[in-house]
Symmetry: C2
């Protein structure tokens, strides 16, 4: 029996090894190798064709090269490889981002072993898998019920990160080499865009959306 090959990318060694054991216990699948981050994976892929698997199980929050970047790279360079995101806990926007860059499925932390097997099987045989949660997210996204993803400009993002520090706006202006009045502007547009009332609102948005990590 030919087994589908799987590569696991995750910086949590324990989880990664545990999942490896799990996948290897499935009749139709076997783990080729595991990586601690996206960079390791790109190196493996580039090294030899025998390191290209059928499916990649990808964590999102990793140091060095995260899940989103890595997925983009795989989709661009090895379109035949299916990427399934496998995340411990992430917010809706991150999930959408993963799907947008080409992840073929998304598995949440609270899935059962049997669900993982089912998901892998569906991906291998039908080419897709989504949990119900994700399907709902997508539907909301397409029907526009879900608020459109907010686009940030580079400067706005820099400002937002600095707003999470104890600097005053004047000090932030200095850091960014801009007039305090420009900072005023960034702040005000962000207030409207993010629908918050004050700086605490900005900070909370930044944290919830992983723009700033405390």
């Amino acid at each position: 029996m030919i087994k589908y090959t799987v590569v696991i990318v995750d910086d949590h060694t324990l989880l990664s090894q545990a999942i490896e054991g799990m996948v290897n216990s499935f009749a139709k699948f076997k783990v080729l190798y595991t990586c601690k981050n996206g960079k390791e994976l790109t190196e493996k892929f580039s090294e030899s064709a025998k390191f290209i698997p059928d499916i990649v199980l990808m964590d999102i929050n990793m140091p060095i090269m995260n899940g989103i970047e890595t997925t983009e790279w795989i989709v661009a360079n090895y379109p035949s490889v299916d990427v399934m995101a496998l995340s411990v806990e992430d917010d809706d926007n991150t999930i959408l981002k993963m799907l947008k860059v080409g992840a073929i499925g998304y598995l949440l932390k609270d899935t059962e072993k049997t669900v993982l097997e089912k998901a892998l099987t569906e991906i291998a045989e039908n080419g897709f898998y989504h949990t119900k949660n994700i399907t709902n997210l997508l539907i909301e996204s397409f029907t526009g019920k879900r608020k459109a993803e907010i686009a940030f400009k580079e400067r706005e993002l820099t400002f937002l990160k600095l707003a999470c520090s104890e600097l005053t706006y004047k000090e932030i202006a200095d850091q960014m080499c801009l007039s305090p009045k420009t900072i005023d502007g960034y702040r005000d547009t962000l207030f409207t865009k993010l629908n918050v009332k004050n700086r605490v609102g900005l900070v909370m948005y930044a944290i919830k959306n992983k723009i700033y990590t405390p």
Copy 2:
């Protein structure tokens, strides 16, 4: 050969099942059952003596009854059971708190399968296990290099949580039925106590120390 029995408490089903498989693959250990939170565990323990394991592998952040409460309960009622914290990512204070309430060891996310086996073996045979990181933490804690844990009054804590919202201090005063000037006082003492300069500092402190969860 008599195997040591292990119970896993974790709300992440996948991780929990994966670790179960891993532990079962160790010659000296076998998993009795798994729980999704502390409450489930207390129920099992109380149901029958055959559900009391040698070792509990305990996650910390769980809904309903978290790792700290649960560990306290186990230590108080079943002192012969060794609790090892097994956390994906937590801050230093949480780790110390777990050890303080009686966890016998602490395993971090980036451990290897072999390390888990070594840790379980040491706990079963010697009664303790700590990773080097934790040892350092403890040393710092005892030598007082680490800043003493800050004590909060109930009102201060309520204020701190409200300060993480978009309310103005006047609105917070209303909520707490206090004069705005009293709130001024809480804020100022917290500024000194926590060594922060402004409200963003308060928010960050509250988040880092899990007083407020975004």
